[in-house]
């Protein structure tokens, strides 16, 4: 390599090579990202199918008992731990919304309409969504960590070795419990959020209490309430499924469990918002 001209030629071709292989590796990275996203979605969907099959078998086949104690245990765990945070978040959201909307509505001379805005926003959107986000931090993370630790301690292998299906024993009760409890929590969240708006309106904006209540009741229809709860139920199932999927696929010791926990929270929140967008589009198109 003593000839300088050949060296610079080699240098140039090296740069060209790097540029080409750089483009190649970007597309290859994109392709492998796409593959991993697809396999994640496929895996979670299959887990959902599997969990449902075991739920039905448990209910309809006498040979397979339905794990009521496990379900109740999980419901208590999911619900009780997150209830105070859901309260806190919702009451502040209600208060904030009312304050934020007040100047605009006042400029139209309709300050009392704060009640409508808060009611619709909380019941249709913020109640279910924020409860879902709180639950992905509480229930989702703890489910992923718990199942991940079980994988590491060979407990999942032991279940299979005793001819006991891990999906039936672990996934089904967690999915049903989370989907059920999030509906209960969302009902509470709806009331609390509206109450937060009520507090601000009555004590800061001087809206008469009875007027606020009447306007809220007039503004909200049953469909608003139900669409919110349907969304919440789907959110709950998705959070638990993602958490179980991440937990069951843990590898690499304590660090792997940590990764699974983080991944659960991040993926759940992205999934919730994506699903929320789809629901909203569908409800809008159907005029619900």
């Amino acid at each position: 390599m003593s000839d300088p001209s050949s060296e610079s030629a080699a240098g140039r071709s090296h740069i060209a090579y790097r540029a080409i292989s750089g483009v190649g590796s970007i597309t290859r990275d994109q392709a492998s990202r796409l593959v991993s996203i697809l396999s994640f979605v496929g895996g979670v969907t299959y887990l959902f199918y599997d969990a449902l099959v075991w739920a039905f078998r448990g209910v309809f086949q006498s040979r397979i008992r339905f794990g009521w104690p496990a379900l109740v245990h999980q419901m208590v765990r999911v619900g009780v731990r997150s209830i105070s945070i859901v309260f806190l978040v919702q009451i502040f959201i209600g208060m904030i919304l009312a304050l934020q909307m007040a100047p605009t509505l006042q400029s139209y001379g309709q300050l009392e309409r704060v009640a409508d805005v808060v009611g619709i926003a909380v019941v249709r959107e913020l109640g279910p969504l924020l409860t879902g986000i709180v639950l992905s931090g509480f229930a989702g993370a703890s489910i992923a960590a718990e199942i991940g630790a079980m994988v590491e301690a060979e407990e999942i292998k032991a279940l299979r070795a005793h001819a006991l299906n891990p999906v039936r024993f672990l996934v089904t009760p967690r999915v049903l419990a989370t989907a059920g409890m999030i509906v209960v929590l969302t009902v509470m969240a709806d009331y609390i959020g509206v109450f937060g708006g009520f507090l601000t309106s009555v004590f800061i904006l001087d809206v008469p209490p009875s007027l606020y209540v009447n306007l809220t009741l007039d503004a909200l229809k049953m469909t608003d309430f139900v669409t919110g709860l349907v969304k919440a139920c789907v959110f709950g199932a998705v959070i638990a499924l993602i958490a179980c999927y991440e937990g069951l696929n843990v590898s690499g010791g304590a660090e792997g469990v940590g990764r699974a926990t983080t991944a659960t929270v991040v993926k759940s929140i992205v999934a919730l918002i994506g699903i929320d967008a789809m629901f909203t589009a569908v409800f809008y198109a159907l005029g619900i």
């Binding site: 630790a149 079980m150 301690a153 060979e154 407990e155 292998k157 032991a158 279940l159 299979r160 070795a161 005793h162 001819a163 006991l164």
Partner: protein, 295 residues
Amino acid sequence: MASARGSATDLAISVRDVVKEFPTGDGGVIRVLDGVTFDIRRGETLVIMGGSGCGKSTLLNCLIGEYSVNGGHILFFTKNMREPADIALMDEDGLNELRKRYGILFQSGALFGSMTLAENVALPLIEHSYVDASIIDIVVTLKLQQVKMLAHRNKMPSQLSGGQKKRAGLARATALDPEILFYDEPSAGLDPVTSAAIDELMMDLSRKLRVTSVVVTHEMDSAFRIADRMVMLDKGRVLKIGDRCEFERIRDADPGTLDGRDERLMHQFLRGASEGPITDADGMTEFEKLIIAGE
């Protein structure tokens, strides 16, 4: 080498040309088990030995149906089945039927952390035996007594020591009176006294329950204590299978009198090179190099 001596009825498991490959990161595969063939006789205690990374755990996982094999057959001869069952060809339901007939003691005990010891032992009985709760309670008491853990029946697994967890895991593994017991490194991580106690327990169970035991272990002392026969694996192949006394002969012999590279390799290993033949990047073990250098 292994041969199907005797009639099929005194066989418990027949492993035939088992191949297991894992995908590597770059799209290729590594072959971890490469044509493993041997028989496990009914009622015997067979110890599977070999250096780190030779494929012992992989073989055990194939035997219990946790991994599917890429080639070959694993035939189970269970008592009330006329035909042997090939787990390489089985679906999940068939596998589950078979799983009820064998028990496994995992390396860490693998007790279910959310249940007490008694509940751990009771779970297989509740799910698979369809007997009364009072009878299950009696069986649980019996099984815990067998492993001397009755005093701890209402403790959670997190309150137990490593050796106690293994004993409790053994009680759970024997809950359904299995025909075959698999042990994954039963003495790993235990002090010599506890490890000897576990060995005693294993021999006791194998005598009392007349089970076939398949043990994967590193520990030479323990292996020679419990084994009726031994299998030596190296780089995914069976180096030797034979009675314990044959292995004792190789272990105690003067290296000069041993014939063949394999025997010298085993001699080294059995003399307590606890890590065993570690395969290098060039595919040669440390011992092979030593032997080649010596010749």
